[in-house]
């Protein structure tokens, strides 16, 4: 029922949208209907290496308190999840989501032979490579390649930023990065660009410039489409005036619209807390918490929360022991949040980290992050994970 109504709205909005477009772009306005259901994925990248042990705190673990005499968070200050674990005190709304069964936690996620360099480890997470291979395309970019064969605009995958992450760059197609739909739209409205595209698209396809004109036409068409959609059903809740607040607001209004976007990518940082970690992490978590609250509430009132899955990740966790500057240094395995109204498995889904079995002071990974990707691709986005990841990984059961 819902799907039928949505489909109807979708088609009718497309029709009006098309009428408003200049003629030359019409050739680029193919059907925008998304393939494979109406599920949406939001990736939340916690850049810089978030300290997982002070995010989901092992409140009954003596080693944790011993190794972090200055940085550990006392049990009574944490937001209790179960007898073993408490959430960072700034994540009040996430605790509510947990209690509702709308937030699950995966512990000890990483990959074999972890790399402690930010850029290398981020590369590994974004491309879904092994730690000894280098890929030039990202996992969501390859999803776009699979999803957007002969399609007119790569709006299935959007990043809320001024530049595009490798994660969204495919072999053939690349997602669109934007900080603000209105700004992108205004830039793209320059009649000079339209004139360029009008003549440029007539160039033969084997011409080296044709690739550039294609990207340009997709951008102009995408900018117009995204802006139109973002205004269709603007969300009304108040979001904090932070980057993450603005970005989640944009995402919420796009999800409420009939846009064909299946994946949103948003980053928050920097979690690189070598020095004075307590205050920095708390500030970032407060920003995150305050933005996620109206976001999930909007999804609920628009009856989309069951269709939206948000997953958080960081390029690595941090070392178990605190350093001499009130901070922590680069580590390895980490936890991930899974937030959705449609979770199948709820709560803390696997064992808390075993702090008695470390490798050179670091946590051991138990789950490969690519299993999470495979699960999401297969079960949520209903696509061929093997084709996108290149290898078969075991699926998890959280969705």
């Amino acid at each position: 029922m819902l799907i039928n109504r949505r489909k109807f709205l979708h088609l009718s909005s497309l029709a009006t949208g098309t009428c408003m477009l200049p003629k030359f772009l019409k050739a680029f306005e193919g059907p925008v209907q998304g393939m494979g259901g109406n599920k949406v994925l939001v990736i939340l990248q916690l850049s810089g290496g978030n300290d997982g042990l002070n995010t989901v705190i092992p409140v009954r673990n003596d080693i944790y308190y011993r190794e972090r005499p200055g940085l550990s968070i006392p049990k009574e200050k944490t937001l209790s999840l179960d007898s073993e674990a408490g959430l960072h005190p700034a994540l009040i709304h996430l605790k509510t989501l947990y209690d509702e069964g709308n937030l699950s936690i995966l512990n000890n996620v990483g990959y074999p032979n972890p790399d402690r360099s930010h850029f290398r480890s981020m590369d590994i997470w974004q491309t879904a490579s092994n730690s000894n291979e280098y890929l030039n395309s990202g996992w969501l970019g390859r999803y776009l390649d699979a999803q957007c064969v002969d399609c007119s605009r790569p709006t299935q995958v959007l990043e809320m930023d001024d530049s595009l992450s490798l994660a969204l760059s495919g072999e053939k197609m690349k997602g669109i990065a934007l900080r603000d739909p209105k700004r992108l739209y205004e830039t793209s409205r320059d009649p000079f660009y339209k004139d360029l595209v009008r003549v440029g698209l007539l160039e033969p396809v084997d011409d080296p410039a044709s690739y550039l004109y294609k990207v340009m036409a997709e951008t102009l068409s995408g900018a117009n489409y995204i802006f139109e959609q973002s205004n269709m059903r603007p969300v009304t809740r108040i979001y904090p005036d932070t980057e993450i607040g603005k970005n989640l607001k944009t995402i919420a209004s796009l999800i409420a619209s009939d846009i064909n976007t299946r994946v949103y990518y948003v980053s928050l940082g920097s979690f690189d807390t070598h020095v004075a970690q307590q205050a920095k992490q708390e500030k970032l978590f407060r920003d995150l918490n305050d933005a996620i609250k109206p976001f999930t509430e909007d999804l609920k009132s628009n009856q989309r929360f069951e269709d939206v899955l948000m997953i958080s990740f960081s390029e690595f966790g941090r070392r178990v022991g605190e350093n001499g500057s009130g901070g922590t240094d680069h580590g390895t395995a980490n936890n991930m949040f899974l937030i959705s109204g449609g979770l199948r498995n709820k709560g803390i889904l696997n064992e808390m980290p075993d702090l008695s079995k470390l490798t050179e002071g670091d946590l051991n990974q138990q789950l490969d992050f690519k299993q999470v990707y495979a699960t999401v691709l297969k079960k949520w986005l209903l696509t061929d994970d093997l084709k996108i990841l290149g290898r078969q990984y075991g699926y998890l059961n959280f969705i």
């Binding site: 850049s47 810089g48 290496g49 360099s117 930010h118 850029f119 290398r120 590369d123 000894n132 280098y134 030039n136 790569p154 930023d161 001024d162 530049s163 595009l164 992450s165 490798l166 760059s169 690349k174 997602g175 669109i176 990065a177 934007l178 900080r179 700004r183 830039t187 793209s188 009649p191 000079f192 660009y193 004139d195 360029l196 003549v199 440029g200 007539l202 160039e203 080296p208 410039a209 690739y211 550039l212 004109y213 990207v215 340009m216 997709e218 951008t219 995408g222 980053s267 940082g269 920097s270 979690f271 690189d272 807390t273 070598h274 020095v275 920095k280 001499g324 500057s325």
Partner: protein, 473 residues
């Protein structure tokens, strides 16, 4: 267009960073061979060493203490953070210093070749002394002998640290360097086995570097046992491994193909690659000789090789400033653009370097490239924020410079002093674009400021620099 002009511009774009504003008149007159030999001659000069490292930082390194007998020198606890912070700033300075050299130096081929090797021997460190040294080794040997280049790069502290050779010890080999050496630096994938990696990693045990960046061989950590590598067996050293790899003709083919794709055409012509590689191999890996063969061949100027390459962000940025001289109000602008467009010098995406080609272009980078010339012309602020780099930012945030750039129009406009009014559009277009756009003069009329001759040249220039074709060379 005058055929000579197109060829000479092609040469300037490929053997350098684009034609300079002060030699426009020569473009249509000079023979490409003559031009090439003058570029080559200018590149035969020994390059200056760039020393931008802060004197206090250098002093701290000199004072560093050994943690014990046989141990490395270490900075004192409190100095480490200062060292890191200062290094980050100095690496930015080195970046800008090198960009300045690419823009103004007559040794265009040397700097272009160095940029190629900078991507080939990609390393990222947060140590200004290491970065300075690696760049110096690369610029010193960029047009010299690949054997010298390989051996010297392999012994730089930057590469040793980046690829963990300092952790490569007898009994506990670290294979990172050995693997990348074969996969990326010499023979390429598919031409070695996992056993080759294991055996050669043992040969590199004991290769280390100290804080100052000096290579030091630690005999106690070197595996003196028998290793087998490409049919040779014995107590092989790291140097032996490099020699054996150079004996493989595949190394010459791999390097030549990469050079061909960077300098000529992404779609390598395998027949030409093989001919060039044979000669490169027989010459004992003489890079200069290889580049002469390429740039004096007639096929280099074939239409299929002209105007088909997507400029890298650095080439785009430097090329624009060479053609249209400008005074940067704030050089940090260069770094912001490098970040936004995806090519930060000394910060390659990974050890494989920048993939290049179509990978440079996505919706944001293309739109930004097309907006920047107009932003500079109209002194508009840049509102895009680059992603932060945690490897160098250490959790601190960066702030954005605005455009405060002044174009020095005088030097540029005088190139058109003898151009008849109706021929101006064609003259500007021929100078700026290696591939003519489908947009013709008539289409451009609404966007041209016709108020004065000067304004007309300026607005045509800015508009043509804002086209997809300007991204090509």
């Amino acid at each position: 267009m005058n055929n000579n002009q197109l060829k000479n511009q092609h040469l300037w774009w490929r053997a350098g960073f684009g034609p300079p504003a002060d030699q426009v008149e020569l473009l249509s007159k000079e023979k490409p061979e003559t031009l090439f030999h003058s570029i080559l001659k200018a590149s035969d000069k020994k390059p200056d060493f760039f020393d931008v490292a802060d004197p206090v930082l250098k002093q701290k390194v000199m004072e560093s203490q050994s943690a014990g007998p046989g141990k490395y020198l270490r900075l004192k606890q409190g100095d480490r953070q200062m060292f890191r912070k200062q290094s980050v700033q100095d690496i930015f300075k080195l970046n800008i210093r090198w960009i300045q050299e690419m823009t103004g130096s007559p040794a265009q081929l040397l700097e272009k070749m160095s940029l190629f090797w900078h991507g080939h021997f990609a390393a990222k460190t947060v140590n200004i002394l290491y970065d300075q040294e690696l760049l110096s080794v690369i610029r010193m040997h960029a047009l010299g002998n690949f054997r010298d280049l390989l051996l010297n790069v392999g012994k730089t502290a930057a590469m040793i640290r980046f690829l963990n050779n300092n952790q490569n010890k007898k009994g506990h080999p670290n294979e990172n360097f050995a693997r990348e050496l074969m996969e990326l630096f010499t023979i390429g994938r598919g031409h070695y086995t996992e056993t080759d990696i294991k055996e050669s990693a043992r040969a590199f045990t004991g290769w280390g570097a100290n804080l100052q960046g000096d290579f030091n061989f630690r005999p106690g950590q070197h595996d003196e046992g028998i290793k087998s590598f490409f049919g040779k067996t014995g107590n092989l050293s790291g140097e032996d491994i490099l020699e054996i790899l150079l004996e493989q003709k595949q190394t010459a083919i791999f390097i030549t193909r990469k050079i061909y794709r960077f300098f000529i055409n992404e779609n390598a012509d395998e027949e030409k690659v093989n001919v060039l590689a044979s000669r490169f191999y027989e010459s004992g890996y003489d890079i200069r000789d290889l580049m002469i063969r390429i740039f004096t061949s007639s096929w280099f100027y074939d239409p299929e090789n002209i105007g088909i390459q997507i400029k890298s962000p650095v080439l785009w940025m430097v090329g624009m400033r060479r053609q249209l001289p400008m005074e940067l109000g704030n050089p940090a602008l260069l770094l912001v653009l490098e970040r936004l467009l995806g090519q930060v010098l000394f910060s390659p995406p990974n050890v494989a370097g920048w993939p290049g080609g179509k990978q440079w272009i996505d919706s944001s980078s293309l739109m930004l490239r097309m907006q920047v010339p107009g932003m500079i012309y109209r002194s508009q602020a840049l509102v895009s924020h680059p992603k932060e780099d945690d490897d160098v930012m250490m959790g601190r945030s960066s702030h954005m410079p605005l455009f405060q750039t002044q174009i020095q129009w005088g030097d540029y406009i005088k190139n058109f002093n003898n151009t008849e009014e109706p021929a101006i559009y064609a003259a500007v277009s021929n100078l700026l674009l290696q591939k003519s756009p489908p947009l013709n003069e008539k289409d451009l009329i609404p966007y041209i400021d016709e108020s004065t001759r000067e304004r007309r040249i300026q607005s045509i220039t800015i508009r043509l620099m804002s086209t997809p074709e300007y991204q090509l060379c």
